[in-house]
Amino acid sequence: MVYSVNVNGVRHEVDVDPDTPLLWVLRDVIGLTGTKFGCGVAMCGACTVHLNGLAVRSCITQIQDVGSAEVMTVESIGETAEGRRVQKAWLELDVVQCGYCQSGQIMSAAALIATNSKPSDEDIDAVMAGNICRCGTYPRIRAAIKRAAAEGI
């Protein structure tokens, strides 16, 4: 079945089964490989993208559920004010170690500061706990989120 999906402001026609995960559409059909596969069951957060600005796990989001929502991936999050600040802070604080989880971390962080301009440690823990980092970069992630949020005030 052909679905018309808006990804990063560009419309794509994709011919896939209705239950195809959005993650596979992004990576295998459209070719946007910045979004990563981690656990495949929405437990690690590596596949996080935005649907109409809300963070969702693309590995368990079926293409039939996307509808007319605007999909944003890590490839274009830098075009938003929050995403730009998050990426800048990420670079300044050298957050990344191996980097595999980082696209998901950045997408969740951008969604967080878009709704919370001054997140506390507890706020950050609550939202980012769904994004696992096997390198344990959590202290740097938290610091970068605070820096990115502060630059928006």
Binding site: C39, A42, R57, A111, N116, I132
Partner: protein, 223 residues
Amino acid sequence: MRSLLARFPRAGFASLAAGVLSAALLSFGSGAVDKPAAPAPDPRPLQGVASFQSVSDKAERSRALFTEAAKVITDPRCMNCHPSANRVPTQGDDMHPHVPFINAGDSGIGSGGLSCGACHRADNTTLAGARLIKSIPGANPWLLAPHSMGWQGLTLGEICGQLKDPGRNGGRTLSDIRRHMSEDHLVGWAWHPGEGRRPAPGTQQAFGALISAWIETGAECPS
């Protein structure tokens, strides 16, 4: 400063990782086809209203009806989204803390950039090929019960009293409670919880009939 990791149930994630690894090894190594297991008999069948007609004392019959209906109310499919101590749902038949961690907040649908809708859709989402989790539960709306309706840790009598208290039950009359239990879509999810989850005992119709009979006999609460 407390690490983000401190919020993770470490043992849970260790076992999760082991589970993922085991599943991967099994899927690559065995090549065997799983045989579907025969459905197990329901260990907690729900008795019908007629089963209580022999209880001559009306108040006693009312309490017995509620106690029977409470097999559903206290089932993990219902209790997991009625936490009392906080705004964190539980999961599974053992009612462990929700993995990944989520704080549903006062809204009941998450807050601050992470909503329940990050994973939960309008319907259950079957995960083809996944062995760790067969499906992600979903309903429209998918949300945590308000704090005033927390059930976990309460006695049946306390739950019963809360259900009847408009100050804590969302301003509902007993008639509203009957309708909610009998017809509400999210209540009904408990009998259609998606692959990999045991449904609540009986049916929503049978549960609604028990609640109706409980109300008609005076809505008495067990002690």
